[in-house]
């Protein structure tokens, strides 16, 4: 026992801190998502440092870098982290385009990369064995959302809106395909631009078509504006969206227009799980409003920390191996592991509805 401690101490002695890298947009228009995830990672790391049981004598440290939502910067930051031998894992990146650009760098450096929010299905099919992610890909959420909309809600006529991003468009496209398969008619599929404020022209057009349900593939800022302006116009259709809407900020921004809006989410009912509730409370107490991918980032960080603990040494290859072996890990999203491609095994999609200003769990999406 003493010998092990001494060994561990000796390994760590050369470097007091073990670094976990985080790369995401910390400035620019995607900064809110990046900061959100970074804060969740900090939370996980602080908790682990308080317990102090990861590797005796070692402190975990987060190295946060800004990729400005630019693939060129993403590569530069990835190289920077790869060059720093004290970095044994990276949580990143946030946007699919940046993750894709940086993945070859981590691959070459044998540095494990876990993305909390890059949902483009293509990334895990490129053969990067250092790539993992804790978020479900768009080819899972989209179709299941369609199943919920048509089988459970009974929608016959739907309109689809997407925000042109990798995330939103993919989900919306998959939703449309599945919805058509299930016999619904898609009256309209239009794109909006992120950062845009005024959707009344589009919504007026949709109102004239009279759909039962509108599916919005995108994030909460535009989602909130859409439902609010729809309400202002008197547009009476059910709204359904992906996990980009599943945040308190959505309800904050949309106010009473959020009532009745449904959204899907990767994982089980987070508020129903005790450990998840602890996480939610801790996050909101320290940082305020929580973002859509904070739980994913938190789980990613905890998986890394757990892997480091299991590996017992500050070595990239060992940590990589342990992450790969992650199985049935109790995350706040649910019990998860990684499949052969690095995708999360958590394929359960839940649906939530906003009732009385809060999200209420409705059930699984797949009927």
């Amino acid at each position: 026992m003493l010998a092990t401690l001494a060994c561990a101490g000796a390994i760590c002695g050369q470097q007091r801190s073990v670094k976990i890298g985080f790369v995401g947009p910390l400035t620019g228009d995607q900064a809110s998502i990046g900061l959100d995830e970074l804060q969740a990672v900090h939370l996980a790391v602080d908790e682990a440092n308080r317990k102090g049981d990861v590797i005796p004598g070692c402190r975990l440290e987060v190295v946060a870098l800004d990729d400005q939502h630019t693939p060129a910067q993403a590569v530069a930051m990835a190289k920077r982290l790869a060059a720093d031998r004290a970095v044994i894992a990276v949580i990143g990146h946030v946007n699919s385009s940046c993750t894709l650009a940086a993945a070859p760098v981590y691959q070459r450096a044998r540095l494990v990369q876990i993305s909390p929010s890059s949902t483009n299905p293509e990334i895990s099919r490129k053969g990067f064995d250092t790539f993992f992610r804790t978020c479900a890909t768009d080819d899972i959420q989209g179709p299941q959302a369609a199943e919920f909309a048509i089988r459970k809600l009974g929608a016959r006529k739907v309109c689809v809106i997407d925000d042109k991003t990798t995330y939103g468009k993919e989900i919306a496209d998959r939703f449309e395909v599945r919805a058509k398969e299930l016999g619904a008619s898609v009256l309209l599929h239009e794109s909006i631009v992120q950062g845009e404020k005024d959707f009344s022209p589009l919504l007026t057009r949709i109102k004239a078509l009279g759909p039962d349900l509108i599916f919005f593939g995108g994030m909460y800022p535009e989602g909130a504006l859409l439902v609010r302006q729809a309400k202002g116009l008197g547009l009476k259709a059910k709204w359904l969206g992906p996990d980009g809407l599943y945040v308190p900020a959505f309800i904050d921004l949309a106010k009473d227009a959020a009532e009745g809006v449904c959204c899907t989410f990767v994982g089980a009912d987070v508020s129903g799980v005790d450990s998840a509730r602890e996480f939610l409370n801790a996050y909101t107490k320290k940082y305020g409003t929580i973002g859509p991918f904070a739980p994913h980032a938190y789980d990613a960080a905890r998986i890394v920390i757990d892997a480091v603990r299991r590996a017992g040494k500050v070595d990239r290859k060992a940590v990589l191996e342990e992450v790969r072996r992650t199985n049935d890990f109790p995350g706040v999203l649910g019990r998860m592991g990684f499949d052969g491609n690095g995708d999360t095994t958590l394929r359960l999609i839940s649906v939530f509805e906003v009732r009385n200003g809060r999200f209420r769990y409705l059930g699984p999406a797949r009927q």
């Binding site: 910390l26 400035t27 870098l65 800004d66 939502h69 630019t70 693939p71 060129a72 590569v75 530069a76 190289k79 920077r80 790869a82 060059a83 699919s96 385009s97 894709l100 650009a101 070859p104 760098v105 070459r108 483009n120 042109k164 991003t165 990798t166 468009k169 794109s191 631009v193």
Partner: protein
């Protein structure tokens, strides 16, 4: 090399200057042998790419005096030309260089032909509009361009005795490739500056009416400036796409255009050496400022204001430029106002 050095070259004071350039070249060639840090080399590669962009903008804005706020559109043209040829038709990197430069030059021709009649600020706004339209088109035409997802492209590869060696994501090969490209662009710029074109551009910038009287076709010169500046940006785009292995519209936005303008202003409008210095300063310094990275964007805005207020000729610009930018009398401005009023009346 500011405009003052053109005279110097004739008088034999060029010796120390040439030696200086030679020393710099040797130093740059030697860096990867000394510093094997991939991140450092990567930063230098980015510096080189921006340097080519700034040199291109220098032709349009520095020499011809046309403020171009949409330079990233030319950058995008070069990058996407390669991306489309590679991703859709499988053409290799080296073959696409002419296509990238040509695509960008064509775009330069198109935009230049539209704006050559305009003055100062209106011209700037139109170039801004063109830049934005290009970016939005790249995002919206997703069937062709891959939209916000972008396109994945192959890295450059060379045929070697034992098969094929791909550059991959190592920084060293890109470093030398970029160095060669920068050297090429600098040589072309220097030659242009010394040539009849260079003098004609200066004449058009100073006084277009007088220049026309000497037989200079101001319109075609302006368009030519756009074409050449754009072609250089296209070269930078080609390099950028090959290095990154990936193109997406977000790399070619208004902020990028402004960054290039900042670098040119910092280095000195019209100065080739200034272009290099500006690019180096505003690529490397932000990296050094990583600990306070929230302030990084402040830097570009501050550079523009501080330079214009206190040193409008930039770090390496000539004294003449300083006098042009901060004249003692209102005469320059009055002349501008008069020409503007004429335009409005006609």
């Amino acid at each position: 090399m500011s405009s003052g050095d053109v005279e110097n070259l004739g008088t034999g004071r060029a010796g120390p200057l040439r030696a200086g350039w030679a020393a710099l070249c040797l130093l740059l060639l030697a860096i990867p042998l000394v510093d094997r840090n991939d991140y450092h080399l990567d930063t230098l590669v980015n510096t080189g790419i921006f340097a080519i962009l700034v040199l291109g903008l220098n032709v349009i804005t520095g020499w011809c005096g046309l403020l171009n706020l949409g330079h990233s559109a030319f950058f995008a043209a070069g990058a996407y030309a390669y991306a489309l040829l590679n991703a859709r038709l499988g053409l290799p990197f080296w073959v696409c260089l002419p296509a990238s430069t040509a695509a960008a030059a064509l775009l330069g021709l198109a935009i230049g032909s539209c704006v050559f009649r305009l003055r100062g600020d209106y011209l700037a706004l139109v170039t801004l509009g063109c830049g934005e339209i290009v970016r939005i088109a790249l995002t919206n035409l997703d069937r062709v361009t891959g939209g916000p997802n972008g396109l994945i492209v192959a890295h450059p590869a060379v045929a070697v005795p034992w098969g094929r060696w791909e550059f991959g994501i190592r920084s060293v090969p890109y470093y030398y490739l970029t160095l060669a490209a920068v050297w090429l662009t600098v040589s072309i710029s220097a030659r242009l500056e010394r040539s009849g074109f260079g003098r004609a551009w200066t004449a058009v910038k100073e006084d277009e009416v007088a220049a026309s009287c000497t037989g200079i076709n101001a319109a075609s010169l302006k368009v030519l400036a756009f074409v050449i500046g754009a072609a250089m940006a296209g070269l930078a785009g080609w390099l950028f796409a090959g290095k990154q292995g990936f193109v997406s519209p977000e790399s070619f936005d208004f902020v990028t255009s402004i960054m290039v303008v900042s670098m040119l202003v910092l280095g000195g409008l019209g100065s080739i050496g200034g272009a290099l210095v500006g690019a180096a300063a505003l690529t490397i310094v932000p990296e050094l400022l990583r600990p306070v990275q929230e302030y990084r964007m402040f830097l570009f805005g501050a550079v523009l204001i501080v330079m214009m207020l206190f040193r409008p000729q930039g770090l390496l610009g000539g004294v003449r430029l300083a006098q042009e930018m901060r004249p003692e009398t209102e005469r320059v401005r009055q002349e501008e106002d008069e020409t503007l009023a004429e335009d409005v009346r006609t």
